[in-house]
């Protein structure tokens, strides 16, 4: 028995590595790739964080809101005349124009999906004053329905890749190449997040959102339209998820598949928790940290362990610092 047990474990030398050399050699490659991956997580995480901050609800259907955006972007490309196959030769202006159209389309599709979910699934529950568990189960149901509708429409196979932009090295950092794709993703995500931050923290509507997050009843008494604020929150989360979906599709062109949102959704939620759920800047930080950590983990332990790193990180964070790195704060933000 003892001998067998040793043989059983020794068998495993090949399936997990502890490769510090690879980690060191690819450190900067991993960091840069992790940052571009992480900014996509961060955009999706903002949706979770906003809804959680206002409603104390984990919007399970947000991963489907995201993937609907990816399909929106894909069929916009299709509608603009692009077909699966080799990357077409386009001038910079053309690329920017087409991407801007796809960005708007993806954002609208995701935003609309989020608002529909809110209206159809969550609002009736709020009217009845349902307990949190009921909300969560409804959210799971909504996620299932959205995913299955996609499945019935497009079936199980991923859409064939449409590429608009050929990744090209622009400059190098410590020997690691930085591509135009990575720059676009990181810069565009940051811009969108700054806009969202300003909107929530500086505008009149944003003040309403923070007021409802802090105390819905008092906010209502002060003349804030709670239902409209909740709708707005879902809409903003959806719009950002749509943008994330376009970037995701540019990064992984064959990524438009019906259950493609699931994994990214959990990871984005992990990012939100990591940074402190309900905290906008925490979502950014959490996303970037998660993206980078995943890439380091992949180098260290081997390719198959990437997703495990993310989930273990989630459990560890919740064990030691359940409020996340920056703490929960949408409601406590300064006025």
């Amino acid at each position: 028995m003892n001998h067998q047990a040793t043989a059983f474990l020794a068998d495993g030398v090949s399936w997990i590595s502890f490769d510090v050399d690879t980690l060191r050699n690819q450190f900067w490659d991993n960091t840069i790739e992790g940052l571009s991956q992480g900014s996509i997580y961060a955009l999706v995480a903002l949706g979770y964080t906003l809804v959680y901050g206002v409603l104390r609800l984990i919007n399970f259907a947000h991963s489907e809101v995201f993937i609907y955006g990816a399909f929106g972007a894909y069929f916009t490309f299709f509608g603009l005349g692009f077909r699966p196959g080799p990357t077409p030769e386009l001038s910079t202006i053309e690329i920017i124009g087409y991407l801007a159209v796809a960005l708007v389309a993806a954002m609208l599709v995701s935003g609309a999906t989020a608002v529909v979910v809110e209206r159809v699934a969550y609002r009736p529950l709020r009217k009845r004053g349902a307990p949190p568990l009921v909300f969560l189960i409804t959210a799971i149901g909504a996620s299932f329905v959205l995913q299955q509708l996609l499945f019935i429409w497009r079936h199980g196979n991923p859409e064939r890749a449409i590429r608009l932009l050929r990744p090209q090295e622009v400059f190098t950092v410590f020997g690691a190449s930085v591509t135009n794709l990575q720059i676009i993703i990181v810069v565009a995500s940051l811009v969108l997040m700054v806009i969202a931050d300003i909107f929530i923290n500086r505008t009149r509507l944003g003040r309403g959102v923070r007021a409802v997050a802090q105390d819905p009843d008092t906010a209502t008494l002060m003349g804030v339209n709670k239902e409209r604020v909740i709708m707005l929150t879902f809409l903003i989360g959806g719009l950002l998820a749509g943008a994330a979906a376009l970037f995701y599709l540019m990064k992984i062109p064959q990524g438009a598949v019906y259950q493609g949102g699931f994994l990214l959704g959990i990871k984005a939620f992990t990012a939100a928790v990591l940074g402190g759920i309900g905290n906008l800047r925490g979502a950014l930080l959490g996303g970037l940290v998660l993206g980078v950590a995943e890439n380091y983990g992949q180098s260290l332990f081997g390719g198959g362990w990437r997703d495990i790193v993310a989930f273990v990180l989630l459990i560890v964070i919740l064990m030691f610092r359940p409020t996340g790195i920056l703490g929960e704060s949408l409601g406590k933000a300064r006025v």
Partner: protein, 367 residues
């Protein structure tokens, strides 16, 4: 429905058994009778279909302890199910490098191992708020699946073949418990379900069960009243995990093959749907829910491909219009309160219609 359950409870123990025994016998006889309307044939072998239903039933009873009794939302229940299946595979399949055990000895082992997993996962996470727990358990379910993908001794997609089965041969010399005949497996599963039902039923009526209901209704109040909530939540989690592991081991035995393909989160949500649909906290309810979830796609093959869509819609509609499920939870705190009052004073409570308790009980009747 309420009056029916009340009438049932007012029967004596003897009368209850007098009704139960024929029902149980009928349940046992189902695969032999193969009743025409109920039958899933020719599309799907009926005894195996009944085994599937019974498997979902056992899973639903286990998950009900966690979700229904203690009110903890566990989305990674499939993880425990998978652990049980892999324990059975590792210790009975000839492909595995580990010591071989007889199949029946593997069942208690699967219970112990999954219970340990439940404790390991529960200890750090049960201190968290309810909705975080859902995500952490979801992560756990995915970790188990990914480990099955990546850890070489677990053989990934190739999986384990020729799993063990309980002893016994037929007249023809074949093993009694084989993969093509679902009937013996169904009988084994129903027997296990009855044993587990008695076990869980006794737990429910004990101090532990009352603590669970108190936690489910209001955790803070339970804590203030001196219920060690963390301990009892951990109990619920571990017992639920153990039942999940047991059903996983039984499932693995019937299929005779285990690989990494059957343990996705979608199935986990189906399990949850069975509990919520039937009525979480109500054992008869969750069995009904499990029957609906497992049986409907097998009986009506033409809608089988839409089953996830249909059950997802059912979840939303149910949560809006009947959140307690088809059959609501039987035990509520107020019921306990009345019982205690009965015992103390010797007569049912008499409250004026204006008191808070009366309003509360009216609300309870509505729910």
């Amino acid at each position: 429905m309420r009056s029916l359950s009340e009438r049932w409870n007012s029967l004596s123990r003897f009368q209850q058994w007098a009704v139960l025994i024929p029902v149980v016998l009928l349940v046992y006889a189902l695969p032999l009778l193969n009743p025409p309307i109920l039958s899933t044939e020719p599309a799907y072998n009926f005894p195996i279909a009944m085994f599937e239903v019974a498997r979902y039933g056992l899973v639903a009873i286990g998950l009900n302890v966690v979700v229904g009794q203690a009110g903890l939302l566990d989305l990674g229940y499939i993880g425990f199910f998978a652990v049980g299946a892999y324990v059975a595979a590792l210790f009975t399949s000839p492909v595995s490098g580990l010591h071989k055990l007889p199949y029946l000895a593997v069942l208690p082992l699967a219970i112990v191992v999954t219970m340990v997993f439940g404790l390991i996962l529960g200890t750090p996470t049960l201190r968290l708020r309810g909705d975080y727990l859902a995500i952490v358990t979801l992560g756990f379910g995915e970790i188990v699946r990914l480990l099955a993908d990546n850890v070489e001794p677990l053989r990934g997609n190739r999986g384990f073949t020729d799993l063990g089965h309980p002893p016994g041969t037929t007249d023809a010399g074949r093993a009694l418990f084989n993969q093509t005949d679902g009937t013996p497996w169904y009988w084994l599963m129903v027997t296990v379900i009855i044993v587990v039902l008695i076990f869980v039923g006794n737990l429910e009526r004990s101090r532990v069960g009352r603590a669970w209901v108190a936690i489910r209704e209001d955790e803070d109040v339970a804590e203030i009243m001196g219920v060690p909530t963390f301990k009892y939540k951990l109990w619920a989690f571990a017992i639920g995990a153990a039942i999940g592991g047991l059903s996983g081991a039984l499932y693995a035995g019937q299929i005779g093959f285990v690989n990494n393909q059957k343990f996705d989160v979608v199935t986990s949500v189906l399990f949850l749907a069975a509990v919520v649909l039937g009525g979480s906290g109500n054992k008869v309810g969750v069995l009904l829910g499990a029957f609906v979830i497992a049986y409907v796609p097998l009986r009506f093959q033409e809608i089988a491909q839409y089953k996830y869509l249909i059950f997802g819609l059912a979840l939303i509609v149910l949560m809006i219009f009947r959140p307690q499920g088809l059959l609501g939870a039987r035990q509520r705190l107020l019921a306990y309160g009345r019982e205690a009052y009965m015992r103390l004073v010797g007569r049912p409570e008499q409250v004026s219609s204006e008191s808070a308790l009366a309003k509360e009980s009216a609300k309870g009747a509505e729910a």
